[in-house]
């Protein structure tokens, strides 16, 4: 595998074509292949199930053609023994196979596809190059339908009773993208049961789909029938009013749900990990990544169905658990690398060496490498130029090091593949010859030249010469740089002593780091102090009390209640924050900060709330249940109203927790008084994922669910001293009235208005008032500014288990920094020439990382200052600086413009 250069010659000549599973079988691949173009590592492998040699004992075309000698037919699977202290299992899931039910007609027409197949159809790298066409005739469809809950929320054999949690949002995404692809007004319809866009910003996305005319049809599918002549699909369904309806579409997409794979089940069995009734790993709400077996942790869709951001958070949470279990042995296997001493070449005339790579035939086959070498020898400053067969091979690396020393080179250009993959390797080669790694430049003559101009050898050769000339002109101007080191304070400050803050503090303390837990109130606990049970029925008060006990007594945790954060100075590794406790200020030094300031339950100014004692919010109901003296006697009927203050114009987001909380509380009322009439008046029931079981149980126990028409008035008033709720039933389109003894308002979660943390840490909040993470999918607990993390409700509405997971994820990200003695930053950072700085502050506005800011000198002058620890070298400051004071090391104006000037000669 080390030898493979991913040139693809083997695959091109392989005679065996088989179905391409990556493109969901919609096209073919070869027996020797890479799974997909962006695969890491980018190495070809042989599928021995289909390879002609493995089947018939002859062929080996790939071995003969491979220029690198990388094909090895003798390679065998080997069993390895590894000693580890903990195990994380993340086997993922499969999707439901819709062949199981003939209702969906899957397999009867190529124009009925699964959502994963549709993803590939939409992909630029997919079977149709990203052009949306029907598989049957490659014609553009005019009407596409999505069928939701295929294999999910279905108790029939072969399906899953749970909600897969992701399909509503991905169907909306596919519909929006399909509409964008098909500029001629594609008609899209999504047939659904409940629309569950409960994730952060997902409700806005749903609203956007409605605005772009995606149709949403609440329905039950009776069957899909293919017209054999047109290959169109007729969908037979029952609408919400119970009418039978038919509609014809060109294409149907089945939104298939998650299904546990047999491999995952057998892995769990081999490891002795308990499974639940769905064959998912069994976990609890407070320990949601711990399996039944100590030391084995689980994350991803094998824990429960979930989307990307939640999977990423959960993965970091498992890392935090492992870091705490293995805290004792942290660093025990680390080996220190010997760094060669660099030669000081400043002031020397450039002595440039140019190595031109043939990359087997990948470069040499399409352009004239000897001509390029010859040309390089004529360039100013070049004292050596030669070609290499494979520049990246171990022996060539050693040869290059020798040549650099022998010829006394002080700058090096390698003309080969791309710096994106190979710059670090060659920088090390240069460093091994005692040359600073920044005195090196690559010319990309493979990916951006020979491979894309393979039919025009002259032009490719000319371009390669130009690229080498540009690289030589740049390398002669480059200056040695040294990667700055920044000291790291090993303490964390956690702002907010709710469940998230406590969780993060305990995890970091277990890892051996000191945590300052700052809480504004006089007690720890936050919103969790009011919650009765977690969704799986765990006693929140008992668990919370245990956690507060641990936080209060742990030697590594300083709990500061009645304390507010007043001022934050410094940056990652070196924060100095001022806090005030009952009027007394103190400065705390810390390396990282976790913002876990939570959110609030909204208090409505409608529906008789605050004037009627029997009108309560969800948390107030929970508090009553917590009160041992509470009795449901005398309550003959109760009504829950969902989405009070959520999913409205002023707050266009879903609060995520209220549907489950209402269902749980409805069940509790039924338990206390089985004769009570309990109604839940809702818009969409969003008991997502495994929470669907609660919804099913509530219906079985007689809780009555009524969907109300949101567009029509929902009124609560008094009638003869009774509370009266009146609304329009969505299915019947008739007004209904209920007179309950108890009215419960699912009021949703609102952020803390003008959260001081935003200005103290200079981090952003979104339009709804929740903090904006660095990347919605892949960096869900970090901010763009390094060393500042977020967890819990401050990030967006979420239930207890997910808040705990996010707090652990934040702790894991914190420990990745705290565990270092020093952090090393790339040398490519900004610098400010103080002589030219006029203190205008435009750089500060332009910087996305809070890395550059104005400082006031003693004489009152304002000067811009770079915090190298935070700088990513993007150069936005340099681009906006009106005087040229701000620039970027390695990419200053001269170092870029020399390439512009030499691009065409």
């Amino acid at each position: 595998m080390e030898k493979c250069i991913a040139c693809g010659a083997c695959s091109e000549k392989c005679p065996q074509k088989v179905s391409n599973e990556y493109d969901a079988g919609l096209n073919k691949r070869k027996s020797i292949y890479v799974k997909y173009a962006q695969a890491v590592p980018l190495k070809y492998s042989i599928d021995s199930d289909t390879c002609i040699f493995f089947k018939k004992g002859k062929c080996k075309a790939c071995e003969k053609l491979c220029p690198a000698g990388a094909v090895n037919f003798e390679d065998k699977a080997r069993e390895l023994t590894v000693n580890v202290g903990a195990v994380i299992i993340a086997p993922g899931c499969e999707v439901f196979d819709p062949v199981t039910y003939d209702v969906y007609g899957y397999g009867k027409s190529p124009n009925i596809v699964t959502s994963l197949e549709f993803e590939r159809i939409l992909a630029a790298t997919g079977p149709f190059g990203g052009h949306l066409v029907r598989p049957s005739d490659h014609k553009e469809p005019q009407k596409v339908a999505w069928i939701q809950c295929v294999g999910s929320r279905d108790i029939h054999a072969g399906s899953q009773p749970y909600c897969s949690g992701v399909c509503c949002t991905y169907a909306i995404k596919e519909a929006i993208i399909a509409k964008e692809h098909q500029k001629g007004g594609l008609d899209t319809a999504i047939f659904y049961i409940d629309l569950r866009t409960y994730g952060k910003d997902f409700e806005r996305y749903y609203n956007r789909a409605v605005d772009s005319k995606v149709r949403f049809v609440k329905s039950k599918i009776a069957g899909i029938v293919t017209d054999p002549t047109t290959q169109n699909q007729v969908i037979h369904y029952i609408d919400e009013a119970g009418r039978r309806v038919e509609e014809t579409f060109d294409m149907v997409v089945l939104s298939v749900g998650f299904k546990v794979s047999q491999e995952a089940v057998s892995l769990a069995e081999r490891l002795g990990v308990d499974l639940d009734q769905y064959s998912l790993a069994k976990t609890s709400d407070f320990q949601s990544v711990k399996t039944s077996r100590p030391g084995i942790f689980v994350c991803g869709s094998f824990q429960a169905p979930k989307d990307i951001p939640h999977s990423v958070i959960e993965a970091s949470a498992t890392a935090a658990e492992v870091e705490s279990v293995l805290a004792q042995s942290r660093g025990s296997l680390v080996k220190t690398k010997e760094v060669p001493v660099e030669k000081d070449v400043r002031g020397e005339d450039p002595r440039i060496g140019v190595f031109v790579c043939c990359c087997g035939t990948n470069i040499a086959g399409f352009l004239d490498v000897p001509l390029v070498v010859e040309y390089a020898q004529t360039l100013p400053g070049v004292v050596f130029a030669d070609k290499n067969l494979f520049s990246c091979s171990q022996d060539t690396q050693e040869k290059m090091t020798d040549i650099i020393r022998e010829k006394g080179l002080n700058r090096v250009v390698v003309a080969a593949c791309t710096p994106r993959t190979h710059e670090p390797l060659f920088q090390e080669t240069v460093l091994n010859a005692n040359i600073n790694k920044y005195l090196f430049e690559m010319a990309n003559i493979r990916n951006q030249c020979s491979w894309v101009h393979s039919n025009d050898k002259d032009a490719a050769t000319q371009k390669a010469k130009d690229l080498v000339r540009m690289a030589v002109s740049r390398v002669s101007l480059l200056e040695p740089l040294y990667d700055p080191e920044i000291s790291m304070n090993h303490a964390a400050m956690i702002i907010g002593g709710g469940l998230s803050g406590i969780t993060a503090a305990i995890n970091l303390a277990e890892q051996g780091f000191h945590a300052y837990l700052i809480e504004k109130a006089d007690v720890l606990g936050g919103n969790a102090l009011k919650i009765h049970k977690s969704w799986q029925g765990e006693d929140v008060q008992q668990r919370l009390a245990e956690m507060i006990g641990i936080a209060g007594s742990h030697k590594n945790i300083s709990v500061l209640t009645s304390t507010e954060l007043k001022k934050v100075d410094g940056f990652v590794g070196n924060f100095k924050s001022t806090v005030e406790t009952n009027g007394a200020e103190q400065v705390i030094e810390h390396g990282v900060a976790i913002i876990a300031t939570g959110a609030l339950e909204s208090k409505p100014d409608q529906y008789l709330y605050g004037t009627e004692p029997n009108v309560l919010t969800g948390l107030e109901m929970d508090s009553r249940f917590n009160d041992k003296g509470f009795s449901a006697k005398g309550i003959k009927s109760a009504v829950f109203i969902q989405c009070v203050g959520s999913r409205i114009k002023e707050r266009p987001y879903c609060s995520k927790v209220c549907c489950t909380q209402s269902v749980r509380n409805a069940l509790k009322l039924k338990e206390l008084n089985p004769d009570m009439d309990v109604f839940i008046v809702y818009r969409d029931m969003r008991t997502y994922g495994l929470r669907e079981a609660l919804y099913r149980e509530a219906r079985a126990k007689g809780v009555i669910f009524i969907r109300y028409d949101f567009e029509k008035d929902l009124v609560v008033d008094k009638d003869n001293g009774n509370i009266r709720v009146s609304f329009t039933n969505y299915a019947l389109q008739r007004r209904m009235e209920i007179k309950p003894d108890l009215l419960l308002l699912a009021t949703g979660i609102i952020p803390i208005r003008e959260n001081p943390m935003a200005s103290l840490f200079k981090v952003q909040v979104n339009d709804d008032g929740f903090f904006v993470e660095a990347h919605a999918k892949l960096r869900p607990v970090e901010f763009a500014t390094e060393g500042i993390l977020v967890a819990g409700l401050a990030h967006c509405p979420k239930p207890i288990d997910e808040s705990i997971e996010q707090a652990k994820a934040a702790a894991s990200k914190a420990s990745a920094l705290l565990s270092k003695e020093k952090i090393t930053v790339e040398g490519v950072v900004s610098r400010v020439d103080e002589a030219y700085c006029v203190g205008c502050g435009r750089c500060e506005e332009a910087c996305p990382f809070n890395a550059i800011s104005l400082e006031t000198r003693e004489n009152g002058e304002k000067i811009s200052h770079v915090r190298e620890a935070l700088c990513k070298g993007c150069g936005s400051c340099a681009a906006v600086c009106p005087t040229g004071a701000a620039s970027v090391f390695h990419f200053d104006d001269r170092e870029v413009l020399c390439m512009v000037k030499t691009a065409f000669e």
């Binding site: 493979r446 951006q448 101009h453 393979s454 540009m470 990513k872 340099a878 990419f891």
Partner: protein, 67 residues
């Protein structure tokens, strides 16, 4: 403009996205005319308007900023 006109194009490409995309075009063997010279920058935000003017001054017929 004569029929044989071959424009000279300077492209400033962000290391993290457009430059990688140009690499991926190579991996996928997409063929395109050899008239463009790509200059890698760490962010398209680095591209000062002056860079674009300098490119034209140096003889470029077109400038692409991709990021």
């Amino acid at each position: 403009m004569s029929e044989g006109f071959e424009p000279k194009i300077v492209a400033f490409a962000c290391n993290w996205c457009a430059y990688s995309a140009a690499d991926l075009a190579g991996v996928s063997r997409f063929q395109y005319p050899p008239n463009m010279r790509i200059i890698r920058v760490m962010c398209s935000g680095r591209v000062n308007p002056n860079f674009i003017l300098k490119a034209f001054e140096s003889g470029a017929d077109g400038v692409l900023v991709a990021g």
